[in-house]
Symmetry: C2
């Protein structure tokens, strides 16, 4: 097993985003239960998550994908609204809309679990806001990416992934 | 007039927070209508502000104060909840509670416009969450400070400042 914490610390250093030692030790590292972390995985630091709002850093290693999902609204609760701000590297966010015929990144191998293909490339300093009920997935480019997420309450339990095999609560055991 | 944009750009550079050239040109620079910018002033970049959530960078020059205010709840709307995360420098946030007898910063000269004196010092990587209806003010230490603010909707019009002379909408003309 490559030293993931070392990779993360290096990427954070290069990004200028400072997390404390304890915060780095407590990062949420998920492989979505797919056991293919370097292809489908996400590293998360949550600054704050209350009943009203939330802020996170999303760290993606080189070419890593956060699989397609949606934050649905229900009768009881409006779905999550989120803004992605690219802080380091480059990330392609795929959303509903016209299919991008020549995307900047290679599409995932398990393409049957993906249904939206309109690519928005976020370079450092660029951002995108998604309303609830918008299907999306994203993939880091070759340098990896760090993306700040500003949002309403985050309740991972209600996320709906296109790939039914995904277990969002899965954590990588290092 | 000292080159404020130069000072801001230098502070951002040192902090590792990247804003685009256009974002820097469009920063909100307020003196709160007090015409004493280097003592009472704030420089703001708003990443996103929707009806549900908001994220900003707050830039304070050396020893600059954001005067005491509150984000009140009303019958129509719950007040603003906000989290301050110190990214650069050091900032003292003063909140309700036991008066700090020997604060780390010098108190403002117009002390009659301040009523809460419990000091919470935020170093780089430290943060504090304030619920609505909490009186607060903050002051940068000698190096200045950059503070990320993660919050619910920001509606400056409803802020209530202790100093009745304050005009929150005032902009510094450079």
């Amino acid at each position: 097993m490559v030293n993931i914490h070392g990779k993360i610390a290096e990427q954070l250093n290069r990004s200028g985003i400072f997390l404390t030692k304890t915060e780095i030790e407590c990062l949420e590292i998920t492989d979505f239960g797919l056991n293919d972390f370097y292809n489908a995985g996400l590293i998360i630091h949550t600054y704050i998550n209350t009943e009203r709002c939330c802020a996170k850093e999303l760290i993606l290693l080189a070419n890593q994908v956060c699989p397609e999902h949606v934050h649905p609204s229900s009768a009881a609760l409006e779905g999550k609204e989120e803004t992605f701000r690219c802080r380091f590297g480059r990330v392609s966010v795929f959303i509903e809309g016209n299919k991008t015929t020549q995307p900047c990144v290679e599409l995932p191998a398990d393409i049957t679990n993906y249904t939206v293909f309109h690519e928005v490339v976020l370079n450092k300093g660029e951002q995108l806001t998604l309303k609830p009920n918008s299907k999306h997935w994203f993939k880091a480019h070759g340098e990896g990416a760090i993306v700040s997420e500003f949002s309403t309450t985050s309740n991972d339990d209600t996320d709906v992934f296109t790939n039914q095999k995904i277990n969002r609560a899965s954590r990588l055991s290092l």
